[in-house]
């Protein structure tokens, strides 16, 4: 089972739920941290680093001697990664998406490709949990490619939990595509419901089965509960607003370790996920 934990709103508890769930399962679990702009899963594990791989994309390299400044490559590029300058074009690798199109359109074979680093994928192990964590280099804009690199490390036959980035834009969509089930984490507030609706639209567009977890129940009102009921969306778990959880989290401690009475919540969540994943098309 490949399970993604996502949300619309940031800060609802995706990483917390992903890591706590991985901890209580008691079987080998692969945890993929696809929040490559701000990966946090590793902060909650006492994990040892197994390896760190540099991830690059192929960006254009212009042979000025062969270039006749026809500007075909500049006209082709959809991302403004090539710009006109006196003579051979200037390359802006931070804007390049690595599509390779410029090399195809150049009639003078003046464009080859070279590596441009966008970030890393680290592999860490903490007991039963193998964590693959993507980390985008600061200043690089292309998060989705790094998300794909993290997901490429997924192993068949191992229970996989994917920690998604917040929101519903390209990096979140890249994370969610192809998973078996999505848990959407929200909070019972106006911002929580507003962003949850956007996330629900997104997972429906991607045709993925999903359920909802409401975190910090008690801080707002029952609008999210009513939404779930009205939309017939399974409510998989409710976590109460408990300051002790926030305090443990702030110290980098797992809820299920600092407050063992919550282990049952996560065991129940896993059961509910499997139950709903089995029946949903």
């Amino acid at each position: 089972m490949i399970l993604a934990v996502a949300s619309g709103k940031g800060g609802t508890g995706k990483t917390s739920i992903s890591v706590n769930l991985a901890k209580v399962l008691g079987v080998p679990v692969q945890l993929l941290d696809c929040d490559v702009e701000e990966p946090n899963a590793h902060l909650f594990l006492r994990a040892s680093l197994v390896c760190e791989e540099e991830i690059s994309i192929a960006v254009p390299k212009i042979d000025a001697a062969a270039c006749n400044a026809c500007d075909e490559c500049i006209d082709f590029c959809q991302f403004n990664a090539l710009a006109s300058f006196c003579g051979a074009p200037l390359v802006f690798p931070e804007l390049c998406h690595g599509c390779g199109g410029c090399t195809l359109v150049c009639s003078r074979s003046a464009i080859s490709e070279e590596s441009f680093r966008i970030g890393t994928v680290r592999t860490l192990v903490d007991g039963n949990i193998t964590l693959n964590s993507g980390c985008l280099d600061v200043g690089v804009s292309l998060a989705s490619t790094l998300v794909h690199a993290v997901k490429a490390r997924q192993q068949d036959g191992v229970t996989t939990i994917v920690d998604a980035p917040p929101g519903t834009a390209c990096p979140a969509v890249a994370t969610l595509r192809g998973v078996d089930f999505v848990v959407l984490v929200t909070e019972p507030t106006p911002f929580g419901l507003n962003d949850l609706k956007l996330a629900v639209d997104t997972v429906r567009e991607l045709r993925l089965p999903f359920g909802i977890v409401i975190n910090r129940v008690g801080i707002g009102d029952d609008r999210v509960h009513r939404f779930c009921k009205a939309e017939s969306i399974p409510l998989l778990l409710e976590i109460p607003d408990d300051r002790r959880i926030a305090e443990a989290y702030s110290r980098g401690e797992l809820t299920v370790e600092a407050l063992p009475e919550y282990r049952a919540h996560f065991a129940h969540l896993w059961q509910a996920i499997n139950q709903h994943a089995a029946v949903m098309p």
Partner: protein, 291 residues
């Protein structure tokens, strides 16, 4: 004209709530909601819509099934795994392109020997100009699973600047997105000042360091404030020390306040209510010294 951008790195630290309060405290601001794929500012600033515009950006590749001969030459050329083989059981009699994976690069058009790939402009969402209680507001909504969030952010900021210039508004306040990627970069380039709102946790510290590195990379004056500081005093002190070391200005602390959600439910900015933390937000605003 000054432009303050509110970022966090980590999501959920309180950017939008604080932006709304600053908008109410400021003199004649223009407000821009650049968290385009999860916009919430409109929920507490009561905007009345004046203009709505389609956001058309980039292109999408579409294989014209009625003339595609299924040669499959396009599939291996796509570096984004967007081209899929025929799947008649799903209604795809020919090779087809997953619109949520297509980056709109145009490579498949060049490689198709039969020229059967269409490349229409992509409607990625919409942007709006509204009148909020505090003044003009520019906001947007990215389409479901859409691309080009960075370009939509750029559009929102450009319109906010245009309105500020035309109406002689002295300040633009921008509610930024979480993270450090494309939409965040689009929201800060050229800004006067960034305020990083963080929380006193290991995640808050980790993520703040990365967004601080980003603002320094762009050479933008940066301030930091810790929201919900009393959840962990030690972490608050650590974060403030890190900020100072990185030459960012520490502009205050905001206490954890359970009544903030009630203000949100009442659709009001925190400083319009009697929430205890309203006083802290006012002090941070004073410390920022923008007006």
């Amino acid at each position: 004209m000054k432009e303050l951008v509110i970022l966090s790195g980590k999501g959920g630290t309180g950017k939008t709530s604080i932006t709304a309060s600053f908008a109410m405290l400021a003199q004649r601001p223009v407000v821009a909601d650049c968290d385009v794929d999860a916009a919430d500012l409109h929920l507490v600033l009561a905007p009345t819509l004046r203009e709505r515009h389609e956001f058309i950006s980039g292109h999408q590749a579409i294989i014209m099934a009625e003339v595609c001969c299924n040669c499959g030459v396009c599939l291996p050329e796509c570096r984004f795994d967007a081209i899929r083989p025929p799947a008649p059981e799903d209604g795809h009699d020919t090779y087809w392109i997953d619109p949520t994976a297509c980056e709109g690069c145009g490579v498949c058009l060049k490689t198709c020997p039969m020229d059967v790939i269409d490349f229409p402009e992509r409607r990625c969402g919409e942007w709006m100009i509204s009148d909020a209680v505090c003044g003009p507001m520019v906001h947007a909504r990215l389409g479901v699973a859409a691309e080009n969030s960075g370009k939509l952010v750029t559009t929102v900021r450009r319109e906010a600047r245009r309105i500020a210039e035309q109406g002689d508004h002295p300040l633009i306040i921008v509610d930024g997105p979480p993270g450090i990627g494309c939409p965040v970069i689009a929201s800060v380039t050229g800004a006067t000042q960034v305020l990083i709102v963080t929380e006193p946790s290991v995640s808050g510290e980790h993520d703040m360091e990365r967004v601080l590195a980003l603002t320094q990379h762009f050479g933008i004056a940066t301030s930091v404030c810790v929201n919900k500081w009393d959840i962990n005093v030690e972490m608050t002190q650590r974060i403030e020390a890190i900020a100072r070391q990185a030459k960012a200005k520490v502009v205050g602390r905001i206490r954890y306040d359970a009544s903030v959600s009630q203000a949100q439910i009442q659709e009001r900015a925190v400083v319009e209510t009697s929430c205890p933390c309203a006083q802290d937000i006012r002090e941070v605003w004073r410390e920022l010294d923008l007006q």
